[in-house]
């Protein structure tokens, strides 16, 4: 078991390093020059002086060194928790992310929980009533939300609930997870990953339904609800766990669009603002933290999986 954990970790760490390499390379290619950006505000410097100062500052920050040296130093800084200062507003990137992340994380967890709570039963019903109208409407109905971005869903649902049905006021802001304002944002977040969970559960239940032990259970006269509870759902959950990484990605991308629409002071809003303002240090920080979340989620799946499915060999 320990060896298995070590191998998994040994894969996760270089993956994260490679992610850093990709993002860092992109910034090096990009037109963004931190020193020029920093000095752009100081117009009082005359041109000659400016060139000299730029030169000196570049040296000071190590920007004249080779790519490899720069990258190593960058990794060192990141490991020390220094993600740089944002261009817009000169904020500490790590501190901004740490401040906003818990809000998005709570919303995301609630979204993931709700996805499982709704998606797994729906998928199971679709499989048990295969090729019935229930199956078609569940599969077809959730297909609507596959690849539909949050910024398409959110305004449509707002128009529906606020203007047409008039059942709620516009939910704006953040007053904790259990405030009724979060219902619509969490619902919208959930819809993105929902189709995948429904389909995965449906397929898993169908596969298990064809197994011999289910036939045996039926033959010995076990009640249907007991077969479903004891044998089918327990085993069907195993493949569903593997979609967790995908769900995490869906929730992260969803929150990028969600936050500004509902004025939630979360991680996603920071990401959106960073893109709009071409705020490079912030963009790098956001991308890195998001990738870290996905890598950790996949690591978690890898660790949990052998416990759920003892047939998996620990190698």
């Amino acid at each position: 078991m320990l060896q298995y954990l070590i191998t998994r970790l040994a894969i996760a760490v270089p993956t994260f390093l490679a992610v850093m390499l990709i993002t860092f390379t992109l910034t090096v290619i990009s037109p963004f020059d931190p020193v020029a950006m920093m000095l752009a505000q100081q117009e009082s410097l005359d041109t000659l002086q400016k060139d000299e100062i730029i030169e000196r500052t570049r040296k000071q920050y190590g920007l004249d060194e080779s790519f490899v040296v720069q990258f190593t130093k960058y990794v060192e800084r990141v490991l020390q928790g220094d993600l740089g200062i944002s261009i817009i507003g000169q904020r500490d990137v790590l501190r901004t992310i740490v401040k906003t992340f818990p809000i998005s994380f709570q919303l995301g967890l609630a979204g993931a929980f709700l996805t499982a709570l709704i998606g797994i039963p729906l998928g199971a019903i679709a499989a048990l009533k295969q090729n019935s109208w229930a199956d078609y409407s569940i599969v077809g109905g959730t297909l609507v939300f596959r690849s539909l971005p949050v910024f398409v869903l959110a305004p449509l649902l707002l128009v529906l609930f606020v203007l047409v049905l008039d059942v709620m006021k516009v939910p704006r802001g953040w007053d904790g997870l259990f405030h009724h304002k979060t219902i619509l944002p969490i619902f919208i977040l959930m819809l993105g990953p929902l189709p995948v969970v429904v389909r995965q559960t449906r397929q898993a239940v169908l596969d298990i339904f064809a197994q011999d032990y289910i036939r045996t259970a039926k033959a010995k006269g076990l009640k249907m609800w007991m077969i479903i509870g004891r044998h089918i759902l327990r085993n069907a959950l195993i493949p569903v766990v593997t979609t967790l990484g995908f769900i995490a990605e869906g929730l992260i991308v969803g929150s990028i669009f969600l936050d500004s629409i509902f004025a939630i002071p979360g991680f996603g809003g920071v990401a959106e603002a960073a893109f709009r303002g071409f705020d490079y240090p912030m963009l790098l920080g956001v991308t890195m933290v998001s990738s870290l979340m996905i890598i950790l989620t996949n690591l978690l799946v890898d660790i949990v999986y052998p416990f759920l499915d003892p047939r998996i060999q620990l190698e």
Partner: protein, 328 residues
């Protein structure tokens, strides 16, 4: 559904037994199965309309996508402007039609580029031996651990300006006509970014197909009678691996349209005044409560089109992989 089509097939066979044997191809069967599904007919219709509008949209549009009428800003739908006018007096219907062209162009090209990339790397991983497989496997893992949209957006942000600057230099140096106008480079960067995010899916799928099909008995049989490996790959592997690839392509077509809209929404994809459903939603989302149609029209268009394409993908999945049921 499968039982229904089996009955239909048996009936057809029963009548065909009397007639001289008519050959039915794999693709003919798949096509028939596709048409027997109501949802995939909706999908085919949506896809047909989309491509028609993408090609002939500018000819159908009553106005140009940039033409402003400042006397009639943000109007409700009327006889002159079927879907109303937007926040700076442009005809919304015309802009939706032009947006269809943008979305289709991006989806078509990024899907094609990523397919070619993923196909080559997947084949290399499947056939190239242990090292090639391991290296390509690691790279796909790495690319897949960055959220696709963030990576595509980061690529678009980083590469756009260097490419535009390079194109301007080339144009000034030798007047290469293509680079006189750099607006289409927006599209190019988006194609590239999205293709880079999408290829790992194909590479994985194709590798898995190669590995599992190679264990099939008909491939073993061909190998044992001495059919050369390239011929097996072309004659037996490729046609059998094609089904899942086509299904994945359909789904990633709709994802690419959504991703284009997302990038444009974030302001890093197709930039105004070029029409994209994403930037149309973005520029009006602040005023959704008093001009709901300006947001609802592009949003509903995108929703209907992606849904239609997904229906088609689902139908293709049933038609091309009748054994597998509904896969992801």
């Amino acid at each position: 559904m499968s039982s229904g089509s089996t009955i239909a097939a048996t009936k057809a066979n029963a009548t065909l037994d009397l007639a001289p044997a008519k050959q039915r191809s794999l693709w003919g069967d798949a096509w028939r199965r596709l048409l027997s599904n109501r949802l995939s007919i909706i999908g085919i219709t949506v896809a047909a309309i989309l491509f028609f509008v993408a090609i002939f949209g500018p000819a159908l549009a009553p106005y140009s996508y940039t033409q402003q009428d400042l006397m009639r800003v943000a109007e409700m739908p009327s006889a002159d402007h079927w879907l109303g006018t937007d926040e700076i007096g442009r005809d919304l219907f015309s802009r939706v039609l032009y947006g269809a062209r943008t979305a289709t162009l991006v989806a078509t090209f990024s899907t094609t580029i990523s397919l070619v990339l993923g196909l080559s790397l997947g084949v290399l991983a499947g056939y190239g031996g242990r090292w090639a497989d391991m290296i390509i496997g690691r790279i796909t893992d790495i690319v897949m651990s960055i959220p696709g949209l963030l990576l595509a957006a980061l690529i678009a942000v980083s590469l756009k300006d260097p490419i535009v600057r390079w194109a301007k230099d080339v144009y000034e140096a030798n007047g290469f006509f293509l680079f006189a106008d750099t607006t289409w480079l927006d599209l190019l960067v988006v194609f590239g970014g999205l293709a880079f995010v999408q290829w790992p899916g194909y590479a994985r799928l194709i590798r898995a197909q190669i590995l599992s099909l190679r264990e099939e008995q008909y491939i073993k049989a061909a190998q044992s009678v001495g059919v050369p490996e390239w011929k097996i790959a072309l004659r037996h592997l490729l046609p059998n691996a094609l089904g899942p690839v086509i299904v994945t392509m359909t789904f990633s077509f709709s994802s690419a349209m959504a991703a284009e809209a997302s990038l444009s929404y974030l302001g890093v994809g197709i930039r105004p005044p070029q029409a994209s459903w994403g930037n149309m939603i973005q520029s009006n989302i602040g005023s959704w409560s008093y001009r709901p149609w300006l947001v609802a029209v592009p949003a509903l268009t995108l929703a209907f089109v992606t849904l239609g394409i997904n229906f088609l993908g689902d139908g293709l999945n049933d038609a091309l992989n009748p054994k597998s049921g509904k896969a992801i």
